[in-house]
Amino acid sequence: MDKKTITLVAFVAVIIVVMLYALSGDDEIGSGSGEAHVDGLQIQSWTGKRGNRVYYVHAPELPMVDIRVVFNAGSARDGDKPGLAAMTNLLLDHGAGEWNTDQIVERFDEVGAQFSTAAYRDMAVLKLRSLTEKDWLTSALQTMQVILQKPRFEDSELQRERQRVLVALKNQQESPSDIAEKAFYRGLYGQHPYAIPTLGTTKSISDLSLADIVAFYNRYYVAKNAIVVIVGAVDKSQAKAIADQLMSDLPEGEPASDLPEVDAVEKAVTIREQHPSTQTTILVGQPGKNRSDPDYFTLYVGNHILGGSGFGSRVVTEIREKRGLAYSSYTYFSPMQRKGPFVMGLQTKNEQAQQALEVLMSTLKTFIEDGPTEEELISAKKNITGGFALRLDSNNDITEYVAMIGFYDLPLDYLKTFNQHIEEVTVDQIKDAFKRRVDPDSMVTVLVGDFSSED
């Protein structure tokens, strides 16, 4: 959710993409090159009756509406109970008001609505997509309202979902990228709540109680800790009514407190995890930037050139195009409430892991030392600013961005001024920002692979 996710559900067999932009981790949006659509995208915002913020975009073309309710209730709020935020979020629609789980899912299905929930480190989200046909929308909204306001949190549901999460956790242990990511966050964040794995741990999930979940819900699922996002073919007065309906019986409560600042990594750490895989998965990084970072745009453009934009970026050129060392290689900043990670990653066959790591590090060092060329900067700016229209070409994309703007309290003209901020970035600023902010000598390096043939 912090970054844009486009998922195209296709009705096709396996698809193999030349290179996943997925992994190129271009973590930000371009915007605002002055096209009509940009100027036409009016984000309206107000405070609802219960003290929550509402963000609304009128998109009348298709007879549908996307609704997000986002709480500041991600796993960073887990405290000493990892997985608590995710389990609370998961159980919301497992029985609410007068309806059990079966009835809830049937109520959405019979009106063609799509409903889901998700928890991340910062956010806990409820998503609804519905047709605007009156009876169907009314029914879908009513179901969502009850889920928000009257979740049952029954023990039988917890017991079952606990088992399912435990298997999911076990499943993660067979995925090198999941193993690497957990180790990476642990290495980067130490005692900071961002170190907590969102799904929790086997121990913590086994120990979770209903009382924990109810307490978490009561504390964080309150109106003043929520934003409501509405994008679609509803007018403003309808949007107001929808937002107030969804929040109506929620206590006003208080916003979540500020998360602690993230400490810098003091010295380089290498974490090696043995795994019986043919490749070694490598992640290198350190705490990066937050959403309101003064170096935000400078680091964004710099990363685009370093390894954030796929083919032609430094890392992909050195690792893949020149040497054929990996299918996917990338760098990205993942901006969050507090400093999210700066990450460089790739996976390569075990025998050449060391070589790939060296190329990755020397590419970074060269970039920090010399900065980008003027030519690279011009070309990055063209890509970022010229691609604005693409980033907001569906209601789904618009909803994701507006939710991001709302949750992180970014200015409402964020999209319109984005290109201007990009255009202002200079080679010297990038060089200066990377020198100050990225220290190649205090990186957390994670290697997950088969080291058994090594001495």
Binding site: M1, D2, K3, K4, T7, L8, V9, A10, F11, V12, A13, V14, I15, I16, V17, V18, M19, Y21, A22, L23, G25, S33, E35, L62, M64, A86, V105, G112, Q114, A118, Y120, R129, S130, Q163, R164, V167, A168, E174, S175, E181, T198, S277, T278, F311, G312, E321, G324, L325, Y327, S334, G340, Q347, N383, G387, F388, A389, L390, D393, S394, D450
Partner: protein
Amino acid sequence: MSLSYHLSANECEDTNMRSLIFILIVFLPPIASAEQRVHEYLLDNGMKLLVKQDHRAPIVVTQIWYKVGASYEYNGITGISHVLEHMMFKGTGKLGPGEFSKVIKEHGGRENAFTGRDYTAYFQILEKSRLPIALELEADRMRNLTLPEDEFIKEIEVVKEERRMRTEDNPRSLTYEQFNATAYNNNPYKNPIIGWMNDLDHLTIADLRHWYDQWYAPNNATLVIAGDVDPEEVYNLTKKHFAAIPKRTIAALKPRDEAPQLGPRRVVVRAPAKVPYVLMGYKAPVLKTAAEKWEPYALEMLASVLSASRSSRFSKILVRDKQIAIDASAGYNMHSMYDEMFMVDATPAPGKTVEEVEQALREQLNRLKTEKVSDAELERIKAQVIANDVYEKDSVFYQAMALGILETVGLGWPKVDEYLENIKAVTPEQVQQVAQKYLVDDHLVVAILEPQKDAKTPRRKPSVSVPTRH
């Protein structure tokens, strides 16, 4: 199946526990295009152009679909269509390696490509005024690819790394690969799209040159343009860039229809997994092959009754009520060139064995043969189909993709408009009939993933990392 090209890498760890089958095959209809019709044009050189207007945002999606993919391949060169797809970015007479991507990037665009069993497709997404750039570049690489050997020697290693990442180090992918290899004897669906490692080891630049000459021609391609465009203008631009490319003779593909399966087949995959997994499939016809044209729609409905959503039977009965599986799904793809598998998969709940799960899945399948599905179930699914028909219009890319696939597998794009009505017409009797006819043991294939404790990486013969030079 999800093609995600901007996936957030870590702030997105979620509680999604859907199983592999959802990644591989998915129930979902193509979009129907009631209000904005598709404009179809045929160039003199045999290239087809389809234009779909969507004026919501000032963008244009360009997709070029070639009739070639893994199902066109044969033993010894599996994976070649996908490797060629990689090499399509490695330069033409006009552009050096990587320059295609660079030009698109400088115009603010995104681009990529994908290879399936029955097609290879390339796409660009650009601000609408930049359409001529995409057309010029695609026309150039349709005929003028240089296929330099030094680039190939590097790129084949990239593809092998891709195979390691997607398959070798992913126990469920390995299971799916073995499942297909067991399911088919003589039909090319037995081979993985990415190719067997041994074939990748021995692929040569000469093989690729031959494959390119054989399949990359205007009369073997469909260009799909969707977005904020004017159809006549697009047609004129397309003629400007592609009309000069001459038609070529495309050799007919041998049919290679799968020989009848004479009894159930089972395969066990032992891999360093932590969680067991069951994957089952029954041979079933698709739109292209079905004698009765309603059958694929009834099979799709059958899959939906089982697992279209969380109110479907697998979720309700196996996951929530009996708690025998932590997830279970069914899937069927009616848009293939050859007969497909109606697939079912599940992950056992803690304390349950794969045998118990398989038994539970079979009970659900049997029930569909003996009892008619309820009207309420069918109505729920139809409501979702009607809604999806609107939701899918939110993605310009998806709209173009639906047209491209149908055209490329030989069904013709107008099928896109028939989906909604045909699905709505499916009756409970028809669902029962296809269950009785196709969910039979003689056509069953089962793959079981057995986790191996402390497994070492399987020993393989060292791969030949440098292909023979010619």
